[in-house]
């Protein structure tokens, strides 16, 4: 949950500013602070610095792609506590499979419903807080 009393940090990485804004508005709350990255390299720097609880990553970004970032997160013991939701413009089954295989906790296809995205964020965070239930 939030033992330190500090807000949960969520990283939103997308090179499209409007989609970053949409995602931030969707998930931000008094207990959830959102940090934003406009490309994959910036996202990695923020991941290493803030160890966010959750990263919402666009699959196709300049620099490191969302898929490359998931793999890097899963390979880094420092980031063992970071959950990942991939956001993709491809609805192909094979792309979804590749994302999940790389270690994503959930995969969302554009366009998405903000309410559904929020539901997925809650579910992923709940599962992380209580691994037995996940």
């Amino acid at each position: 949950m939030n033992p330190g009393g500090l807000p949960e940090t969520i990283l939103v990485a997308d090179n499209e500013p409007h989609l970053r804004e949409l995602t931030r508005i969707t998930v931000e709350s008094p207990v959830r602070q959102v940090i934003e990255a406009a490309d994959g390299d910036q996202a990695w720097a923020l991941l290493k610095k803030y160890h966010p609880l959750l990263a919402l990553l666009d699959v196709k970004m300049p620099g490191l792609t969302g898929l490359e970032l998931v793999k890097a997160i899963r390979a880094d013991p420092d980031l063992a506590g970071t959950r990942v939701i991939l956001i993709a413009a491809s609805a192909h089954e094979s792309d979804r499979d590749a994302g999940m295989a790389a270690g994503a906790d959930f995969y969302v296809t554009k366009p998405f419903s903000p309410a559904d995205l929020l539901g997925s964020v809650e579910a992923v965070l709940a599962a992380a807080a209580d691994p037995a239930a996940g």
């Binding site: 090179n15 499209e16 500013p17 409007h18 989609l19 804004e21 949409l22 508005i25 969707t26 406009a38 490309d39 196709k60 970004m61 300049p62 620099g63 413009a89 491809s90 609805a91 192909h92 296809t109 554009k110 366009p111 998405f112 419903s113 903000p114 309410a115």
Partner: protein
């Protein structure tokens, strides 16, 4: 391989066949000469052939290849070979002779079938890839529209927030519209041979129109440098205007810190080269080629959030290619600006005429002939295939011909027969061929009206030039 040739009299009796006919049909010359030509014609058309032959001899006219593709040649062993036949009536002392040049179409049909299968497969693959790319590109603006619309409907928002959401939705809807428009433009351009409405056009005017159509921006002033004597170009002016405005608005977009944009045009050979130079972001060396691919967007542009559909340059390339030109980009590197260049064909003001027409599909060899003829005081024009040569000769473009036998589509022999039929014996035709010509074929070519026959080498090029000078400039 030379084509089989069958010569008949006005009653359809075979009077001569060449060795190639013997090889293809399996018959000996003696089996064929004196027989009716129908013995060589396959089942589906044999019955009707007598009537067709009679009406042809009543109104003899030259008939090129490609008129009747269903005819079959019947061989000694009964096999029937799909062929194409060109017919030429020739008046001789013994009466009308009909010269039939027979082309074995088997290889061609096989290759065509194979190419078609390959092209079909490639088209399916390209289409799949395109659909996947397009749906990908469309989902991004759609995600903003759908997402903010849902926020408006389901959340309590302030007036300012609502205005902000609607503003984003409108921007993204416009983006989706340009994506669809660009995409349709490109589809139209790629849907088979593009119909250009070309006309002689003053490029200076066209550049001015393009400059006027992009909004004024003092940060990136556009300068024009075009010489007053720039020749007219033959282009579809709407399409070229689209290329110019695209390049100008790109130059602006990718110069976020401003800088002068320079448009220049100059003549280079038979074309006009137009260039648009900016002092913007520049390009990495590996970006030069990818730039013109559909949906390619430069990484740095993405990071700087410079908007674009990724289709503009693909459209430019298509349009320039449809004009037979090329478009390219160059840059001294990142931060050092970019120059786009493209070439368009210039208008030829005077009709083409010369002493000699070179009918030769090998451009290098045509150049060699041209130089040698020039050294002998003769001008020449070049036609890479017989169809163009025929048109130019009919327009009276040349007084003599240097003819290659192995040409694309229409072979040299057939061109020669056509020429002798329409122009009579007064146009000297010198054959220069790679093919080894045996004594019999030599005789046949002479009979068809060849003035001289040479191999392809330096000595024969000189000999051909000397012969033509003697004939044309005695």
């Amino acid at each position: 391989m030379p084509d089989p040739i069958v010569v008949c009299d006005d009653d359809g009796r075979i009077v001569f066949v060449n060795h190639q006919t013997e090889l293809l049909t399996g018959y000996q010359r003696s089996d064929l000469q004196g027989s009716r030509v129908e013995m060589l014609i396959g089942e589906p058309t044999r019955v009707g052939h007598v009537g067709q032959r009679k009406s042809f001899t009543e109104h003899p006219t030259t008939r090129g290849m490609g008129t009747d593709l269903n005819i079959k040649l019947r061989c000694l062993d009964g096999t029937e070979i799909p062929v194409d036949i060109a017919l030429s009536p020739v008046e001789t002392e013994e009466g009308l002779r009909v010269v039939a040049v027979v082309r074995d179409m088997r290889d061609r049909l096989r290759i065509e079938a194979k190419l078609k299968a390959e092209a079909d497969a490639e088209m399916v693959r390209a289409k799949d890839e395109l659909i996947s790319l397009v749906s990908h590109e469309m989902r991004t603006p759609l995600a903003s529209i759908v997402g903010f619309a849902e926020l408006l409907l389901t959340r309590d928002s302030s007036v300012d927030q609502r205005r902000r959401y609607l503003d984003i939705m409108l921007q993204e809807a416009k983006r989706l519209t340009s994506l669809i428009n660009d995409f349709l433009d490109l589809q139209r351009l790629e849907g088979g041979p593009h119909k250009l409405r070309t006309a002689e056009t003053d490029m200076t005017q066209l550049v001015r129109r393009a400059v006027d159509s992009v909004p004024i921006d003092p940060k990136t002033p556009i300068k024009i440098d075009i010489p007053a004597d720039l020749p007219m170009v033959v282009v579809d002016s709407d399409a070229v205007l689209q290329v110019m405005t695209n390049l100008l608005s790109n130059a602006r977009k990718y110069s976020p810190d401003g800088g002068e944009i320079m448009v220049t045009a100059r003549r280079t050979g038979e074309s006009v080269e137009i260039s648009v130079e900016d002092h913007g972001l520049g390009l990495e060396p590996d970006e030069m080629n990818k730039l013109f691919n559909k949906f390619y967007r430069a990484d740095r542009a993405e990071r700087l959030n410079i908007k674009g559909t990724g289709l503009g340059l693909a459209i430019c390339r298509r349009i320039v290619q449809a004009h037979g030109g090329r478009i390219s980009a160059s840059s001294d590197g990142v931060g050092k600006g970019t120059t786009f260049m493209f070439r368009l064909p210039i208008a030829l003001t005077s009709p083409l005429t010369a002493d000699v027409m070179l009918v030769e599909d090998d451009h290098g060899f045509a150049k060699l002939l041209e130089a040698e003829l020039w050294a002998h005081g003769l001008t020449s024009i070049w036609a890479p295939e017989a169809e163009t040569a025929k048109k130019l000769i009919d327009e009276g473009a040349a007084k003599a011909v240097v003819l290659d036998l192995m040409l694309p589509v229409i072979q040299g022999e057939e061109f020669l027969i056509g020429l002798r039929t329409t122009k009579g014996p007064n146009v000297p035709v010198v054959i220069v061929t790679m093919r080894a010509i045996g004594p019999e074929e030599h005789l046949m070519l002479k009979a068809l009206g060849a003035t001289a026959i040479f191999g392809k080498n330096a000595a024969s090029v000189r000999a051909a030039a000397e012969l033509l000078r003697a004939a044309l400039k005695p």
